[in-house]
């Protein structure tokens, strides 16, 4: 089991999962644990010859019952695919899988926040290339979720709703919209090409979305990832963070949105979290969000 310790100086929990030190690390192509299991071949994590989407308990969990959860979401049985090459129908199905996991994990008494995410690219620490994401069920309210609730308090309403209203009124950082979702580079982006997909109707979580809205979210997600890959004409590494209402038994708060944190500041240069970011929590930006948005808009259009 992992061990939680509270870092008093930072006011935050730190999870120690020392068994993860031995997790599978960039295995060769023949030994991908997320591939289907073929007759006569090695047994993988998935004992099926073919599949669309599977979810399973992480073999090396950062959290597990009775103190949280850690799951792996495999998007496809095609090792060579990526989220960008999957058809819209598969991404839409993925939205339903996310919804299902949010509902089930969120109903557990030991899960206070369901966090769905994807690490894409070795630049952000991917250890398996097969297209997949992860889900953590935190047994406590993590700091970012708490900060978003605090932003609601500070702004006197739903912060993502209010910030979206501001972005739409300004317009300079907007990327695109569809019937359900708005995409933009936030005014105070922390990463050079950070972008957010925000549900335009107030939806606290995937559970509150209509089927057509889930379709809209899938379309927006795919469109943004295509744009990212077109930006530097290479698969864009990123952390994709799905933010929803905490599932702790407290009322209110939360607005479904997906934040993308790509670490590249140019096609070859990484933005590192260095002295100011790590030591004092202040990001120093290399690209103005308005310029990033213009470049991303052009890339999104080019990718269509």
């Amino acid at each position: 089991l992992s061990e939680l310790r509270f870092n008093e100086l930072r006011g935050e929990e730190v999870a120690y999962a020392i068994h993860r030190q031995d997790r599978t690390f960039l295995p060769d192509r023949a030994h991908c644990p997320l591939d289907p299991t073929h007759p006569g071949g090695p047994q993988t994590e998935i004992p099926l010859e073919a599949f669309e989407i599977v979810v399973f308990d992480n073999r090396f969990p950062a959290f597990e019952a009775p103190a949280g959860a850690a799951e792996v979401v495999v998007y496809t049985d095609d090792h060579e695919a990526s989220i960008a090459t999957l058809p819209i129908g598969r991404i839409e199905a993925l939205m339903w899988v996310w919804r299902h996991r949010y509902e089930e994990l969120g109903s557990r008494p030991d899960v206070e926040c369901v966090y769905i995410f994807e690490n894409r690219g070795v630049e952000v620490g991917v250890t398996l290339h097969h297209p997949h994401g992860q889900i953590y069920g935190y047994p406590f309210l993590p700091p970012v979720a708490a900060l978003e609730l605090a932003a609601d308090e500070r702004l006197g309403g739903c912060a993502p709703c209010l910030l979206l209203e501001r972005e739409r009124a300004d317009g300079r950082r907007m990327l695109f919209e569809n019937e359900a979702v708005s995409a933009f580079v936030p005014e105070a982006a922390r990463w050079p090409y950070e972008a957010h997909l925000v549900m335009r109707p107030h939806r606290r979580s995937l559970l509150e979305c209509e089927p057509g809205e889930l379709r809209g979210l899938a379309e927006a997600l795919l469109r943004l990832v295509h744009g990212y890959d077109a930006l530097f004409e290479r698969p864009m590494p990123y952390v994709m963070a799905v933010h929803q209402a905490p599932t702790a038994s407290s009322p209110g708060g939360g607005h479904l949105h997906i934040e993308f944190y790509p670490p590249l500041r140019t096609a070859e240069k990484l933005k590192y979290l260095a002295g100011s970011e790590q030591g004092e929590g202040t990001f120093i930006g290399d690209v103005l969000p308005e310029e990033a948005a213009a470049a991303l808009r052009e890339a999104v259009d080019r990718a269509r």
Binding site: Q43, P47, L48, V55, D57, G89, A93, H100, S107
Partner: protein, 66 residues
Amino acid sequence: MEPKPAPAAESGGGEVERYGPLDLRRLRKDDGRRLIVYSRVAPASPGDASSPGGAAAGASPEEHGA
């Protein structure tokens, strides 16, 4: 703080459940970990060349040692 409702009971044995447009089957891996297999109920669109949904839906957990 209000208590949460009890989590939904898990089915076993790989029975098919329906969730929105998805079928799902709950399996157990040899080491006891849970594995859920999702497939779309509606046939894959012609453009969805990567979908092996039929194969997944037809695969038996027993056949593959789950």
